[in-house]
């Protein structure tokens, strides 16, 4: 029942034999070992499993891995360049926009998708872009500050 699929993840090709019932989230975490993408609600409500598919934010818990062939997948592991963190990652750390960290990878990828499309968003646009990413430590204020700081080049 398994299918041979090649997935492009963070610029690298992975050739995998996967069952169609495996979600992209399960394949990332369990088959490839990229555990940066988090499993929280597993039902499309929380945004913790957000990854970028061809640059757009999607929920990997509601995406079949077999349906991702030929697409470029970006996870949180793909953001830093060598030893240098992505500006969003640095900004989140600097401004204390992380508490438990479970929402952070999804939050940062949603923010990246926004800034790639719109480098200078308003605060409302930032809020809307991360509306599907729940933080239960309720640190939204610092998260919004961290994203806006990157958009201002700080």
């Amino acid at each position: 029942l398994k299918e041979m699929v090649t997935l492009q993840i963070n610029g690298e090709g992975y050739e995998l034999s996967i069952a169609p019932k495996k979600t992209l989230l399960e394949v990332l975490r369990e088959d490839i070992g990229l555990t940066g993408t988090k499993e929280v609600c597993d039902s499309g409500s929380c945004g913790a499993c957000t990854v970028l598919l061809d640059g757009k934010p999607i929920l990997s818990c509601l995406t079949l891995a077999v349906a991702c062939k030929g697409k470029e997948i970006t996870t949180i592991e793909g953001l830093r360049k060598g030893e240098t963190l992505h500006p969003l990652q640095s900004s989140f750390i600097q401004r204390g926009a992380i508490q438990c960290g479970m929402c952070t990878p999804g939050m940062i990828l949603s923010a990246k998708a926004l800034l790639d499309e719109k480098p200078h968003p308003t605060e409302i646009e930032v809020r809307k872009a991360i509306a599907g990413n729940l933080c239960r430590c309720t640190g939204f204020v610092k998260i919004i500050e961290a994203i806006l700081a990157v958009s201002r080049g700080e």
Binding site: L1, E3, A19, P20, K21, K22, T23, E26, D42, S43, G44, S45, G47, T50, K56, P57, I58, L59, L62, T63, L64, V66, A67, S110, A113, K128, A129, A131, G132, N133
Partner: protein, 335 residues
Amino acid sequence: MGSRMRLPDFQYIEPESLEEVCLFLKEHSHESKIMAGGTELLLSMKQRIFKPKYVVNLCAIQNLDRFEFDEDRGLRLGALVRLRYLETDPIILERYPIISQAAGEVGSVQLRQMGTIGGNLCLDTRCYYYNQSDFWRKCRPICIKMGGKKCNAMGKGKKCFAVFSGDLAPALIALGAKVKLLSTRGKRTLLLSDLYAGDGVKPLAMQPDEILVGVEVPTLPREAFNVYFKYRIRRSIDFPLASVAAMLNIDRKKKVCHEAKVVIGAVSTKPDELKVIEELLKGKKLEGSLIEEASDLAFKVAKPIANAGSSPSYRKRIIKVFVEKALRQGMGESI
């Protein structure tokens, strides 16, 4: 949760043409589920609401994600146009603001990026006692929608009251949209309002082997006003608990209403087009007492029951508020 939220086994089919889909469904429609964006289907499968033998993903079919607009023929949308594009496309924003609004109110950015117009129109009906995990549902008698005899939402209910909760349908019905259905028996075009059967168990008036391939929206008169209002608990993500879509063709100076289409959503098994309001307002001058009368009519028609995350009486009252707000905004008042 763990393993209970994993998907059940199925065979994955990815046809490359509509013809291929139709031929496959001719043989296997009763054991297949069609997947567009997958956001609803895969969750329902995790919850064991469905355990199809085949999942037929439409993603490889060319051109189904296209849309085009021209002044004469109006807007034509392929079934796989993503909600996110409807929300942000400049032409739709300018010519059909109600479509952008309704699409933009669905779920979160991620869900709109994944979800499609075809999927949103073909949503299954929802109920607090139905859209739950297998484990949760097992604590109660099997409900009518799951094939049992009892309605868990309405103690003595003999039928299913699950609610149609799509955001796009009320908006598109208000615009007089049509849908194109395809099977090996050929193509047929239906008024979107006729797609909804009003049956909680089987909400869509489609044959099992038919697929929805496209949507046609007529050109609107330039001066037409249209708006969509949605009530839900969490503004950032939820399904509607009550919604109103209105399209008003109004002479702003004389305040005379040539045409008024009002559709209420998320309070019954289908989006309800309120023909009574259309008849009431046609050719009349819109003013306070008439607006009051129209919103009272909507209040009477809306009969939500206790099967969603907000009280039926509140949902009923907000329908009245939305209708009044839509008519007042249509007249040019800023409320």
